[in-house]
């Protein structure tokens, strides 16, 4: 990892890192059957670091940390039951665009991850050069269309 990225990585506090994992798992949790990993298991954090987005991330996480402190007097990552969800939802309602962007980034990372691609039943490879097999389909279905005769205007 490049040095400057390391510095940015370290700029998140432990509380913020815990909050980020919680947030990622709230958006995309692991599936009950264990087939699909949760978003916190994917390298999303590293992508955000590489894209120079830690300061932006820090901003949003701080809102959640502050909201938790204000409402419950403790860190959001240790809130029990559904309290942490309530906190995040409150912040989400206050900053809808921020959370829409964050969800967008998380989804982009998640659905390009080899583990996820494999889990949804696809081969982990680019489309080229092998391509895919497409069933021909039944062109006899056209018979009734053809029999109807011309429908265009001259």
């Amino acid at each position: 990892m490049p040095e400057d990225t390391l510095i940015k990585t370290e700029s998140l506090t432990e509380d913020e890192k815990g909050t980020l994992d919680l947030l990622l798992d709230m958006i995309i949790p692991a599936s009950l059957d264990g087939q699909m990993p949760s978003a916190s298991e994917i390298n999303i954090y590293e992508v955000l670091c590489a894209e120079n987005m830690v300061p932006w991330l820090h901003e949003g996480l701080k809102c959640i940390v502050d909201e938790a402190q204000q409402k419950a007097g403790q860190s959001v990552s240790v809130l029990g039951g559904s309290l942490h969800i309530d906190v995040v939802e409150r912040v989400r309602r206050k900053h809808p665009r921020y959370f829409a962007t964050l969800a967008n980034i998380i989804i982009q990372c998640y659905y390009q991850d080899p583990r996820v691609i494999k889990a949804i039943g696809l081969e982990v490879r680019p489309p080229f050069p092998r391509g895919y097999l497409l069933e021909e389909g039944d062109f006899c279905l056209l018979e009734t269309v053809y029999e109807r005769g011309p429908i265009y205007r001259h």
């Binding site: 390009q112 949804i120 009734t144 205007r153």
Partner: protein
């Protein structure tokens, strides 16, 4: 300071190496004349296309986006489309927008050339389907087109390669159309389904509209250009034209452009052919002001930039319980329906629309669309909702015929400029009442066919913002110099040696993808030019 081009004088200068410019270059290349083409974008390397990479779905949202305002490559120019509900799409490179088009390749219908006569709206074209027919056929042969003869929605079309497979998705929706007794037909596709002219057949990479690494999609960088270059046409990439120049008599003398090093260069030419698309062409004309043409070149009619037509697009999606493998296959080429193409007096609109069936999205696009529409939630329901959609969705595009409206126009932005300081185009566009009614009808009918095919859930919306691929009408063709920019052979009324061959000269928009018709028109025009070459070159 402007320097002269090392090649002092060419007979024909073509501006733009996309669909129409490539056809024109090849069409003229056997005439023993010196031809040069200037293209602001670069040559393409198919091995860099997104489908060669695992993260192809991410790449299509950024450097291979069809929106130049997102892509922001050096070859791109910004487009101010804030005053339009539809954002402009294009691609700048050798091959132009055929690099990113889906390859859906239907022709205009005979009725599209005479809407004034048939429906009493807009204007008739000064040419007919019959006049273009041999050039449609020639263009199909040059490009490599797949489809099936016998379509009741068209006069006979033959000589095509076998159609793109329907797949489970196509078969499913075809049964829906049949249940309703509606027309459908396998897509006319600029995709080769058999090895053709040294190119290898389609292997269903899927994302045709990010560039085809296989070379099976017929983009003009691999169809027309190799032939034109072999015939001696000089193609200069990364050369952006700023203006077309005129002499004291008002005839075109060439063009000033910025070469690969940014040097301002003048290229002399006896004939200039514009092929810069429905946005780029009027932009260049409007930016070419002189004493002869203070309001822009060839604009004595005031029609340059007016009558922009964009094909407002509606989107319908149906979800099916069965896995119909909708993520596999060429995304834009499956089948289409012309059931509502022709005017029907019982409806509350004139003209009509095409229903183009789209194959489903990849996993990322499925997830992003589902989350943004709140159909795929955050949290525990996420995976089930995704699984219900991925591979289970059929898309349907309603392509609405857009009638010409003078107020829908392109002007030059007074603030926004490109990397060379050339003013950006500014779009002003509104949907007409006729288009709105047609769109509403199309969305309802789209849902109806999804239900007939067995969908458990439908959604529909329109106009889709990111769908301004079809750029037409901004330098219209006509016999009257007061109301049109070019005549029936593509020559500007005001400048006898300046021709336009792209879709800016369309009089009306039809309701199908325009590339096939645009290229046939380009071949028709250069055929007319060839007949007049001795006079034009004097």
């Amino acid at each position: 300071m402007t320097v002269n081009s090392p090649m002092e004088l060419v007979d024909i200068l073509i501006i733009g190496a996309g669909a129409s410019g490539a056809a024109a270059a090849w069409g003229l290349s056997e005439s023993n004349v010196r031809i040069m083409c200037l293209e602001q974008g670069d040559f393409m390397d198919p091995l860099n296309y997104p489908s060669t990479k695992l993260n192809w779905e991410v790449l299509r949202r950024h450097e291979f986006s069809f929106n130049p305002n997102i892509r922001k490559l050096a070859a791109d120019y910004p487009i101010n489309d804030k005053d339009s509900p539809i954002a402009i799409a294009n691609f700048n490179g050798v091959g132009g927008s055929t690099i990113l088009y889906s390859g859906h390749f239907p022709r205009f219908h005979p009725s599209d050339f005479k809407v004034k006569t048939l429906d009493g709206v807009a204007d008739d074209w000064p040419i007919s389907y019959t006049q273009l027919e041999p050039f449609f056929k020639l263009n199909d042969r040059m490009m490599g087109v797949s489809g099936l003869s016998g379509d009741p929605a068209y006069p006979p079309i033959d000589g095509m390669l076998p159609p793109v497979p329907l797949g489970k998705l196509g078969e499913t929706i075809a049964k829906g159309f049949n249940k309703l007794g509606w027309h459908w037909w396998p897509a006319y596709s600029a995709i080769i389904t058999r090895n053709y002219e040294g190119r290898e057949k389609c292997i269903n990479l899927g994302p045709c509209n990010t560039g085809c690494a296989q070379g099976a999609k017929s983009s003009v960088d691999i169809t027309y250009w190799p032939h034109a270059l072999r015939n001696g046409v000089i193609l200069k990439a990364r050369c952006r034209v700023r203006e077309i120049t005129v002499d004291a008599k008002g005839s075109a003398t060439g063009a000033i452009y910025y070469d690969q090093n940014g040097t301002e260069t003048f290229q002399r030419a006896r004939i200039v052919i514009l092929a810069a698309n429905g946005i780029g062409t009027p932009r260049l004309l409007l930016n070419s002001r002189s004493d002869h043409f203070p309001n822009g070149l060839a604009n004595r009619s005031g029609m340059v930039g007016r009558n922009l037509m964009l094909h407002p697009l509606g989107y319908v999606e149906g979800l099916f319980h069965e896995n119909i493998e909708s993520h596999i296959g060429p995304q834009g080429c499956c089948l289409s329906s012309m059931e509502f193409y022709e005017t029907d007096a019982s409806r509350d609109f004139v003209c009509g629309y095409t229903m183009q069936i789209l194959r489903g999205a990849g996993p990322l696009e499925t997830a992003l669309a589902g989350v943004s529409r709140r159909e795929i939630p955050w949290g525990p329901g996420h995976h089930d909702a995704f699984a219900a959609r991925f591979g289970h969705a059929i898309g349907l595009a309603v392509i609405v015929e857009d009638l010409p409206e003078p107020d829908n126009c392109i002007t030059l932005d007074t603030v926004l400029v490109d990397g060379h300081g050339i003013p950006a185009p500014k779009i002003r566009y509104r949907l007409s009442e006729n288009s709105k009614r047609m769109l509403t009808h199309g969305l309802v009918m789209g849902k109806k066919v999804m239900t007939a095919a067995g969908s458990w859930k439908n959604m529909a919306f329109g106009p889709v913002r990111n769908a301004g691929w079809h750029l037409m009408g901004t330098a219209r063709m006509g016999k009257d110099p007061k109301t049109s920019v070019v005549n029936e052979i593509g020559a500007c009324h005001d400048v006898n040696n300046l021709f336009i061959v792209d879709s800016s000269i369309f009089v009306t928009s039809g309701a199908v993808n325009p590339v096939s018709t645009m290229q046939a028109l380009s071949l028709y025009i250069v055929d007319q030019i060839k007949k007049k070459l001795p006079n034009l070159l004097q």
